[in-house]
Symmetry: C2
Subunit: 348 residues, 2 copies
Amino acid sequence: NTSFDRNKHPHRRYNPLLNEWILVSPQRANRPWQGQREKTAADDRPAYDPDCYLCSGNIRANGARNPDYKGTYVFNNDFGALLNEEVDFSEGHSGFFTLLPERGINRVVCFSEDHSLTLPEMSVEQIKNVVDAWQAQFIELAALDHINYIQIFENKGSIMGCSNPHPHGQIWAQSSVPAMVQKTQDQLKSYFEKNKRTLLEDYIEQEITAGERMVTENENFAALVPFWASWPYETMIISKQQRENIAAFSEDEKESLAAILKDLTTIYDNLFETSFPYSAGIHQSPTDGKQHPEWHFHMHFYPPLLRSAEVKKFMVGYEMLAEPQRDITPEQSAAILRNLPRIHYKKK
Amino acid sequence: NTSFDRNKHPHRRYNPLLNEWILVSPQRANRPWQGQREKTAADDRPAYDPDCYLCSGNIRANGARNPDYKGTYVFNNDFGALLNEEVDFSEGHSGFFTLLPERGINRVVCFSEDHSLTLPEMSVEQIKNVVDAWQAQFIELAALDHINYIQIFENKGSIMGCSNPHPHGQIWAQSSVPAMVQKTQDQLKSYFEKNKRTLLEDYIEQEITAGERMVTENENFAALVPFWASWPYETMIISKQQRENIAAFSEDEKESLAAILKDLTTIYDNLFETSFPYSAGIHQSPTDGKQHPEWHFHMHFYPPLLRSAEVKKFMVGYEMLAEPQRDITPEQSAAILRNLPRIHYKKK
Ligand SMILES: O=P(O)(O)O[C@H]1O[C@H](CO)[C@@H](O)[C@H](O)[C@H]1O
Ligand SMILES: O=P(O)(O)O[C@H]1O[C@H](CO)[C@@H](O)[C@H](O)[C@H]1O
């Protein structure tokens, strides 16, 4: 028998944040691709678009008018998935037909008044304003009794279901802890109870020592391809110090977070010299009024592209029914990302 | 306060097959869509395409030539995600860097020599041949010592990562039970231990009584929108009798399965009068040599379309980070599907 080589042989890796396995098929990167190609994003947007419902001073779909904002601007989503109204509920749990009402608030966070920008094209200072807005929103929403979890995220690119290229993200604040966050919380909690340190405190230390999955780092944050990443260029930003949530960050830390966001998204854009699509979001402690020493701030980036600006990884069939599957290894992806220039390709 | 109404108010539903919750936002179906539109599939394929590597007698990417087959044809995937070779492994588990080699076999199942067909356009007899091939493959692969689970599935449509429109599916047979199947198994097992009946035996009975999520049924199978469906038009085919796996089906049952597959996929095509894309696959007992009285044959259909042939549901951002989310309710989807004609729109 040949000896196992993780760069050649199919294997499964364990994800301790979700208590799940993924399948890695390093040998499969060679298969020819004759399938669907994605449209790439038009890259010549004006700084102001009269038809954009997120631009300063424009009218939104529900008739409201945006103020003449500069920098960030936050408003309640006109077509939110949650409603804040309280409803009376008497049905109760019942076997196969179990449901529970869910209350919450959906907000949109415009990152800049400039329609033409994206995070990597903004200055660290401008990105710091976005981080400030996230922190302020988190603090405001966390103070509401009926809000127990706050999901901050960005869908970037039309391939990620983003229907407007104006730089913006979303916040969904709700009464329950959502399914995936609950799983991570269970994992973090049992690790903390056993080890008296957070899982990510230990993980980040071991990753910095190993080096091979690191993408970039600064004083307060590290960005890496997790050992168990399932998307081809999936990464995670982790705070080097244990912080339960974004409210705990100092001015310095917020600036560091802005700096690593700029670095990582610039690297992403440089990979295929395209405005790199992804869904990204912060995982942090629930706002249920309890102490959460097991929690450790991190931000996931799930980008769909695999081979080029036009060829994405399809998480379908086997992946939907059985288990996430990836082709190139996390170590190969990290090496590719790590070696890319830190200057945005448009500025070369 | 208003009283809760599941057709108006956001709520969460519980999925007992995965032990997970999903978010339902019935009020959100009204939001305007300005995002990406999908290309629809060209619908005028020839019965034979000289450039198709799945057509009878043609040469594949690796140089092998297909026989002049009629009906179904099965071969080993030339670029499989698994390798059947046994490797020596000594690394062992280790904390955050836990991995294990995975062995397996990937096969492609051509449904017909006719390049122009899809399941709904095939006769019940022709579909029965596909079911026969699935059963024969299952029996053959299950007999191998190192194969402990067999995932039979189809990715249909380029939007689902299918790179060749020739009617075909795949089989991934492997040494481990994949993550999602393992979860379902755990759920089925604890239900069976408690109730001495399979979870799906009880569920299907209650759904037939309720009626409101039923799509179609025949003597041996029912197709319905599960109470906890997360894709807009997600459905599940369930055998009315408890069967651990496809090997247990009689000729009659296989014909019934073929008939309900034709019905359901015809209904799907008629929804938007387009060749309806989906990933579909069978969940059944592992082939680990143990008894599995808790298992109950079912087949999931995960179709991406939401509003039309061009507008799909994006499972991104919130859904990737927090929890699956749907707009129209399962009851609304089931009513729409149930009321569609059973004759394929192309034959009208
Ligand atoms: O094997 P195919 O059809 O080339 O590939 C397709 O199905 C596979 C199994 O669901 C996925 O892993 C691939 O991402 C997808 O493109
Ligand atoms: O809210 P948007 O940007 O209109 O919609 C997008 O993001 C949401 C949250 O991830 C998803 O539920 C939608 O499917 C997607 O199209």
